[in-house]
């Protein structure tokens, strides 16, 4: 990014302001205000007068509530790792283009256009005890009895994977295929085999993209709600923090407590992002130098 010279500064800033304004307004109205209002609400418990941390104290002393944090992490972290790893692998394999690339990409991306509910219904039908998946495997004699793939942890993981893989894959494909192929070629001629090229050259160059993918998938997974209800076990193994907040809000009508849970969720998401950013910094300090002048 170039620095503004003296004299052209004001003009540049005015233009920048005009461009930034709509998104700034949107963020203020749609995010900052509700967020601050949520924090405010969370600090005004229904049964007490004035400000209090009572909601937070209740949450972190009630095992039924605070264990939703671990349940959510237990879903979000493995899901993020699996989604990003698979997407990275596929994107890396497709970085130079492959046969029928458009068709394959279209098929991979289709789930995005379907919406969570339809996808969940599809998974229930396909992977359910009487679904095709089991019909075929039982019919072939591969399985003796049906596996339990829905209404549990696996069901939620399947659903999250299918929702998040396409967009993660697309994002990484754009990133990976944007890396100049001659960088890889030069590494090859310098004596690096395919694995060394991946590990020593491509991975550091892809790291910023991978970090963003990690961050986005993690945040989306941490807020998992419809999948956890439709395909999981919302009263037990997949009672995520979003479900806990929902119950307080719409089953017990305690908006204040629900807000507190939502704020806790937001803080954990933020903490997750922070860890990812720090890890990325440590892993590849130098990659932030960018691809340089061309």
């Amino acid at each position: 990014m170039r620095r503004a010279r003296v004299g052209e500064r004001s003009e540049l800033d005015a233009m920048a302001m005009v461009c930034v304004l709509p998104s700034l307004l949107y963020v203020l109205v749609m995010f900052v205000y509700p967020f601050l209002y949520g924090i405010y609400m969370s600090l005004r418990p229904a049964k007490l007068l004035g400000f209090s941390l009572a909601n937070y104290i209740v949450f972190f002393t009630d095992e039924w509530q605070y264990r939703t944090v671990w349940i959510t992490f237990g879903i979000a972290v493995p899901n993020t790792i699996v989604v990003v790893s698979f997407a990275l692998l596929l994107a890396y394999g497709m970085r130079r283009g492959i046969w029928l690339e458009r068709t394959i990409t279209t098929i991979l991306v289709l789930p995005i256009s379907l919406g969570v509910i339809l996808l969940a219904e599809g998974i229930l039908g396909f992977y359910g005890a009487r679904g095709w998946f089991h019909q075929i495997l039982l019919g072939l004699g591969v399985l003796k009895e049906p596996l339990v793939l829905t209404h549990n942890y696996i069901g939620v993981m399947l659903s999250l994977f299918m929702q998040q893989f396409p967009f993660c894959f697309l994002m990484l494909l754009g990133y990976v295929s944007g890396i100049d192929p001659s960088i890889e070629n030069s590494a090859r001629t310098l004596g690096a085999g395919p694995w060394t090229v991946f590990y020593k050259v491509m991975l550091p160059l892809m790291a910023p993209g991978i970090a963003i993918a990690f961050a986005l998938v993690f945040v989306m997974s941490f807020g998992v709600f419809p999948s956890a209800i439709l395909l999981g076990q919302p009263a037990g193994a997949t009672r995520t923090i979003a479900i806990a907040a929902y119950q307080q809000a719409f089953e017990f009508y305690d908006m204040s407590y629900a807000s507190a849970i939502a704020v806790v969720m937001g803080l954990f998401q933020l903490a997750g992002l922070l860890v990812i950013i720090l890890l990325r910094r440590r892993m590849v300090m130098a990659a932030t130098m960018g691809v340089g002048k061309r």
Binding site: D180, S186, R188, L190, T196, M289, V291, G292
Partner: protein, 361 residues
């Protein structure tokens, strides 16, 4: 460097789908030479270089070095160095790490790596640049580092893929001399790809002119420059004026005379052109003489159309009385509309087979 190759021999065909980009493109050369693949863009020269490097598989053919067939080897096992048009430095590594990359893969001792990287930076005249990142270097500096990175491994063959195309004109000439110096001092075998005939002529011991994946002519720079074998090579080498003629008479030592368009042109040829054969007479703009007092064979009248000032000389486009247009470079001052006499010195006129012939594979 003692470990360069003695001989290189290859013959390759490459098809992308139904498109043939290299058609039985073959060559046999000694080591320690500077070899150039020269041709317009899309002629397959870079593809050929990438196939030699092992970065692209050939559809058919083989590559031999010192009697050993190497086309089945992956690029990392060939021991070649390669320099790319866009430098292809690792942006996330310092200059030091870029140059040390190959040595580290070979698990050389740290002290040796440090010493050799230092030597290389001295060689490319960038000492003290160890801790910089590629983005902090100019294009010319990046290309020097890219060359250092390739040379530090003592490659038995150095491949350069249009390494100067991204540099400005002045730097290009500087770097050209630099590359020639390194090549000569280190006793390398180099293959250089370019579309710039000046680069090819100034650098090369051996020039290979290509068109549409076919070898048009291979020879020393002087041979290619003075005795192009066909109209394409002649055109590429700066013969701008072509006159279709019919051979009228053939004398001793390649002296030949042809007529066409009401012009009688005398020149020389290295081709077996018998009387009555169709041919093309060609002369460079620089070789045409302009002046009123001139006479003798190959003297023609013409009218000046356009004069462009080029500094040391003028580029003049004129229409010959007989009809065809003529490009001339002359220090003479002429003005548009003026009638002038031009002469083609017979020793500067070459007779070639008509376009499409004289192509050897």
């Amino acid at each position: 460097m003692k470990d360069t190759i003695e001989s290189l021999r290859f013959r390759i065909t490459k098809r992308f789908g139904t498109k043939t980009v290299l058609k039985d493109f073959g060559l046999e050369v000694r080591g320690r030479q500077f070899i150039t693949f020269l041709g317009p863009s899309g002629c397959g020269k870079s593809t050929a270089l990438n196939i030699l490097a092992g970065l692209i598989p050939a559809t058919d053919g083989d590559v031999w070095i010192d009697g050993e067939r190497i086309d089945h080897l992956p690029p990392e096992k060939r021991g070649f160095g390669m320099v790319f048009q866009n430098y292809a430095l690792f942006p996330h590594m310092t200059v030091y790490s870029n140059i040390a990359f190959g040595l580290q893969l070979q698990r050389r001792p740290a002290a040796e790596i440090r010493e050799r990287v230092g030597q290389m930076l001295d060689l490319v005249q960038l000492p003290g640049f160890e801790e910089r990142y590629p983005s902090q270097l100019s294009g010319g500096q990046q290309q020097r580092i890219a060359i250092a990175r390739a040379l530090v491994l003592h490659p038995r063959l150095l491949l350069l893929d249009e390494p100067l195309s991204n540099l400005d004109a002045k730097l290009r000439i500087e770097m050209r001399a630099e590359i020639k110096r390194l090549h000569t001092n280190l006793g390398l075998t180099s293959i250089y790809v370019t579309h710039d005939q000046t680069e090819a002529l100034s650098l090369s011991d051996w020039v290979v002119v290509m068109r549409d994946g076919i070898l048009m002519q291979a020879g020393t720079a002087q041979e290619i420059h003075d005795q192009p074998r066909n109209v394409f090579v002649a055109d590429f080498m700066g013969f701008r004026n072509f006159f279709p003629v019919q051979v009228a008479s053939v004398g001793p030592e390649g002296v030949v005379e042809g007529t066409g368009n009401g012009m009688r042109i005398r020149g020389r040829t290295r081709h077996a052109l018998g009387p009555g054969a169709a041919a093309v007479a060609a002369i460079r703009p620089d070789d045409v003489q302009v002046g009123e007092h001139l006479g003798g064979p190959n003297a023609f009248h013409g009218k000046v159309d356009i004069v462009e000032y080029l500094g040391r000389e003028n580029e003049v486009i004129l229409t010959l009385e007989a009809g065809p247009r003529l490009w001339v470079h002359t220090p003479e001052r002429v003005v548009p509309g003026e009638s002038v006499m031009v002469v083609f010195p017979p020793e500067k006129v070459i007779f070639l087979p008509p376009d499409g012939e004289g192509v050897s594979a």
